[in-house]
Amino acid sequence: MKLKQILLAGSFLVTASATTAMAADCGISNGRLSIIGNEFPAIQTVGAAAQSCEGLADAKANLTADHQTINLPGMQGNPAEYTTAIVANSSIVALINEDVIRPLDDLIAAHGADIPKNQLITINGNVMAVAFMANAQHLLYRQDVLEEIGVEPPKTYEELLAAAQMIREKGIMENPVGGAFAAGWNLAQEFTNMYLGHGGEFYKPGTAEVAVNNEQGVATLEMLKALSEYMNPDYLTHDSNATSAEWEAGNVALMNMWGSRSGRLMDAEGSTPEVYENTVVGAPMTVGGGDKAASTLWWDGWTVAKNISDADAEATFLAMKQATSPAILNDETMGQAVWMIEGYEPAPVNDGVFSAISMGTIPYPMLPQHGLLHTALGDNIADFLQGKESAEQTLADVEAAYTAAAKEKGFVN
């Protein structure tokens, strides 16, 4: 019942912070802290630890799945409602575009010299965020099924397709491949991964003009189509929840899944021992003979708002620094994420993310206009997968949709 323990620990941490039973000395004398972020267990741990700092005049955390809609308006006021936003490499762009977060160089010089350099996110020479956890999508496979067909875990997507064909022919599973191909954000993410694996560039260099209608784009779409032939026919409605459910039901043997979800797939809840004991984490795969993994690296980190007083900024910095320091690592929190903190001991479940890092996987593009392309991809690729259009037509539609949106936002003329 490890899951239950983790959840109980998480909720204990949250309620405990309210009673400051775990008060910590963070070196703060006064100041306000107000966090906005997503609601993973890992972020809840960080939020609770930050709020438990002594000396804070006011400590609040609003951790919700809608944080991306709220964080920008919440930080535009003067003074800003939120003093820190916990963001990922995709969501930090919205805050930077509107200039609501402050560079941290001076605060680091004064109080944060001991933060490891690889945790600092630098944009145009300024440190804008401090990362504390990493995530990536990688291979997950059923080792008993692969043993049955006598195949090594695939290193490339082509090998994966061959293995899937064998599994189907042997009658072990009808639709052995899984993937979060739900139209929208998920499908666009899969395209992004595969396109980077093919070595594609999204934009014309130095501009925001899109350039995906090329041979890498077509190859990406063809590969996604090939994969979908081995998936459950409902794949266009399957987000991560549904894909994980297919895995736990034992219907899928090869899957590209988020590292942060692997832990739940390998635990004893929700599936039979045949499934969860044989769930093994693999490295991200490459495609088309390339050397870059067909995946993206993600980090989560904290920022400090611009429209707040210097005292609040300092207090927030110290609180968040404490909340992402080795002090928060213990038995319960260790398994919540791939922490980028000293003293973190990775478990086998984290091998996938570490492989992704060591393979030099490209981080998700931190470009101001990329959100528009992501939306355009998510809206249009389904047409190709359903056989309604050719690959070139689909990519042309994507480019047209992106260009219209980019004109409206002022990125192209």
Binding site: L120, A131, P368
Partner: protein
């Protein structure tokens, strides 16, 4: 009623609507005529836990200066309405010029996001609204004919699909309709097709969404009609029966005319709500198969970069669409206003 009395009576209500609906509407309309300033892009070096990359970023000072001058953005007139993601005036013209026939033209037109959404939205509205009215009436007649003892529970269960929040009601049906769920299995058995899957087929998905729409809206029509049936004049019915009218003639000539104003009311509310259909598409993860105007707005606002002008333009187009749809009903209400 004196003007001053009228004014004071409606003041609180009007003030609330003014503040929270009228002013935001004006701001949305204004927003839809503006686009953002040109972003000044510079090349930068970004470093993180995974190394350094060259990337582009926005030059904050230059952009801030532009924003100071004109906080709303650049005035774009109807550009946003005419662009590809909305009315797509240019693309429309091109397709008209080069397609072989109406079928071909419509097929190509449905590739454009706004028209694709409009296609589903209109189909949904014009299928679900009449079916809701018809089914609501049939259920009301059926419940009205049941023994008094059972009416309480019957009314409660009938209202259930409408009172449970659409987000979760839809999610539960989504899982039941899955090819391996209880309804999905039943459908496979009924159709005698072991590979049938509602979620894999666009036609079936549209049908499922519309069935869901009728299922969740029929209770509203039911309760209104049921109340109406209680007030059908027994004398008129008796007179008709004495004159030799059959049951069907009684319904046609006494009951249905009596319920006509109700039908107008239900039609009004249903047309408006169905045109803004949105929750079922989210709950059923159906966006690969069906999109609607409200969904398009949600999509614009939900990404990492929020497209405010685009969402504003689609919202204005939605309101115009509703106004067009409602015009026949409203004209009738206008004519009968003095008489009621």
């Amino acid at each position: 009623m004196k003007h001053s009395a009228f004014f004071w009576f409606v003041l609180p209500s009007a003030a609330a609507m003014l503040l929270f609906i009228f002013f935001p509407t004006v701001s949305i309309i204004v927003q839809s005529f503006h686009v953002e300033h040109e972003q000044v892009i510079i090349e930068v070096e970004n470093c993180g836990p995974f190394g350094c990359q060259t990337a582009t970023a926005i030059d904050q000072e230059a952009t801030a200066a532009l924003r100071e001058e004109q906080p709303l953005g650049r005035f774009a007139g109807l550009e946003v309405y005419k662009d590809r993601n909305h009315l797509a005036v240019n693309e429309f013209g091109e397709l008209w010029a080069q397609s072989d026939g109406i079928g071909d033209f419509i097929g190509d037109l449905m590739n454009l996001p706004f028209y694709k959404a409009l296609g589903f939205t209109l189909t949904y509205t014009f299928v679900v609204t009449p079916l809701t009215i018809v089914f609501g009436f049939i259920i009301a007649v059926a419940v009205n004919s049941a023994a008094r003892l059972f009416r309480g529970p019957l009314i409660f269960f009938t209202l259930l699909p409408n009172i449970v929040t659409p987000l979760i009601g839809g999610l539960i049906l989504f899982w039941m309709v899955d090819a391996r769920g209880v309804i999905g299995t039943a459908l496979r058995w009924l159709a005698d097709d072991p590979s049938l899957s509602v979620k894999a087929d666009t036609g079936l998905m549209w049908t499922m969404l519309m069935v869901y729409g009728v299922w969740s809206s029929a209770p509203f029509a039911f309760i209104v009609y049921y109340a109406g049936l209680q007030t059908v004049s027994k004398d008129t019915l008796e007179a008709a029966r004495i004159d030799g009218a059959t049951r069907w003639q009684q319904i046609r000539h006494v009951v249905i005319p009596h319920l006509l104003p109700l039908t107008t009311f239900i039609a009004l509310i249903q047309l408006m709500d169905n045109f803004r259909v949105f929750e079922p598409i989210i709950s059923f993860n159906a966006q690969a198969h069906a999109t609607s105007l409200s969904w398009a707005i949600f999509n614009d606002l939900g990404g990492e970069t929020r497209q405010l002008s685009s969402a504003a333009a689609t919202s204005v187009l939605t309101v115009i669409g509703v106004a067009i749809l409602l015009s026949p009903v409203l004209v009738r209400t206008y004519r009968s206003y003095g008489k009621a």
